[in-house]
Symmetry: none
Subunit: 199 residues, 4 copies
Amino acid sequence: MSIVRTVGRPKLENRPLELLTTAAELFARQGFDGASIRDIARAAKVQPSSFYHFFRSKEDLFEEVYVEGVRRIRDAVTESIRSDLSPWDRLEAASTAHLTTLLETDYFSIVVAKTIPNGDREIDGRLIVHRDNYEKLFINLIDDLPNTTTRDQKYLRFALFGALNATVQWYRPGQDRPEEIAHNIVRLFRIKLDEQQEK
Amino acid sequence: MSIVRTVGRPKLENRPLELLTTAAELFARQGFDGASIRDIARAAKVQPSSFYHFFRSKEDLFEEVYVEGVRRIRDAVTESIRSDLSPWDRLEAASTAHLTTLLETDYFSIVVAKTIPNGDREIDGRLIVHRDNYEKLFINLIDDLPNTTTRDQKYLRFALFGALNATVQWYRPGQDRPEEIAHNIVRLFRIKLDEQQEK
Amino acid sequence: MSIVRTVGRPKLENRPLELLTTAAELFARQGFDGASIRDIARAAKVQPSSFYHFFRSKEDLFEEVYVEGVRRIRDAVTESIRSDLSPWDRLEAASTAHLTTLLETDYFSIVVAKTIPNGDREIDGRLIVHRDNYEKLFINLIDDLPNTTTRDQKYLRFALFGALNATVQWYRPGQDRPEEIAHNIVRLFRIKLDEQQEK
Amino acid sequence: MSIVRTVGRPKLENRPLELLTTAAELFARQGFDGASIRDIARAAKVQPSSFYHFFRSKEDLFEEVYVEGVRRIRDAVTESIRSDLSPWDRLEAASTAHLTTLLETDYFSIVVAKTIPNGDREIDGRLIVHRDNYEKLFINLIDDLPNTTTRDQKYLRFALFGALNATVQWYRPGQDRPEEIAHNIVRLFRIKLDEQQEK
DNA sequence: CATGAATGAGGATTCATTCAT
DNA sequence: GATGAATGAATCCTCATTCAT
């Protein structure tokens, strides 16, 4: 899993990862509007003015955090997909990877799960592209499920994503572990559609 | 279910309903931090100072919008519950009411669906009380489902709410209607647990 | 001691004395700028708009409080002056009356003691006239003191007023009573100038 | 005694002294509530927002002005105390220093003389500490006076401070000079208690 | 690289006051 | 008399951002 994308920008290797990490945490907890550059700079122990050496704007920073969040989830999910598993097991493995990243890794992915780009902001279009890019992975996995109609697939996708991402609202460490949660959520859909084929 | 009820609700009848309605829309689209009192006042065509004749603070306004949103969803769901239906049909009827309110009536309920109180703000505690109060309705409906374990119920609740509320992120008017969406989402869970008893 | 001046304004008899009394207290504690019409109206349990039935403006109100404060002190001092006393005893009696009004009666007089009209505000000129009008009483008493030069009198006046009015800064009920304080303060000056004649 | 000392006082040396000086003047003339940040910034020819680079809040600014005022008076008084003088002459010298600072140097000390911390505000406690710290100097000088009782000392202290600080209300440049005023005020008390010993 | 200084716009909120009812 | 509604100006303060050093 890469740390920070380094293409197209000078000196990205040195760019304080801490700034991104700190921003991720604050954006995850307080949202884009609720977290100020001052807050982030203070938490990262730099001056707000120094911030502009690394990011052109607050929106830029947010987009980088978001992109990194998508990448981390995508990398985890990609890694989890093994062709020797059944389609449903692949979907469960992917869901487990998605949830584990969301709930146990860091704040980058939480920003992704909590952010709802609605097109009102100029940045939203770009965020949606990133997110859609990732969701294709799941769409493919769902398309592989046996005995499912297009309609099944469409709603399964929306429902599964809704259910998985909503975990960030109620998950508390120490209770069910992410893989248990993923297993149980997928199970809710799996047997139904699995059994259906036998009818 | 009326759009706005002014009977028996003293808090609403004398206050510029437009202020609440406008606030609901802006909060729904831009979130608490993204919508300013200036924005809301401008959209409602009053001076920002006039706003303070009706609401003590921005948080107060938000809470009123949220409470009204919860009330509208709750009223719709309560009305939809008919004892002559089977447990699963009751759950689907409730889900349809929930979704119809969310997607077809107004912005109050969308504020509820999009707001994730996480305890960081002082207001969050109160919001959670309102929301939990409503969610009990669904918990009861889910408890009534035949042949479900406690674990089934727990995950069904989280997954169903996640799936239903996530619709505000992808729903576009003109495509599937709310009742179709609700039907299809509940169907994903329904058959599975229904069939299970026959195993 | 009159309650509220009733000349020149209609319906003054009914004008809520409580508004004046409340204003006196808030002006005494928080100053003109620190006490708002809202504060005063709230404490007096009327609406801010009702306030304007009785006073043309905040400055008007302040002036009335100030004038009433001056009157209360002046009335008390006037009453205390008895021609059968020696000049020094008369001055002490007047000082006692002044201090008793300041420290034991109400907030009107405290506004007078704490307000320092410096001419920056349009209202200041009028306040100074009221105050000077009262201070003439003391000037006369001091002029009557035996064996004092004009310079003595001038500084005695400034020092005595300074010392007396400063009591509002340190006086705490339950310790020395106002007449004791007045006696001790006057004593500081009295013996010196009294004795001097014997030299 | 220099007007502004920038050596050894880190808090002053880097900050726009003009901001402090301007604030001192406006606070002296209009009080804490009467002088707005806008006013001060405008008079100092900076934007109100620039102000917040140097001071965290209006209260902070006021406290700094107050502390600086106390320091200037204290420095002047400390410098004036010479052990080769008689106790009464020391007190007069201190009074002269106090008055000269108050009336001839700048506005910092006037803020101290005009501000009456009464405990209603959160800042008052700190102001009182600063003031008390300074007043100890005078208490010591008064304690050294021969043939004075504790009661004499207590009232002399209150009366002397009251008389000295009240000068800011009536002093006009061009008439009596501060040292004359101090001399005359102390003289009012001095002979009395001095003479007493001969009785 | 880093940052202290600066800023215009905007944040929520309060101000004294007016006026129709 | 009384007041609820309204307002424009002002309150303190924070915003994201720029720039000279």
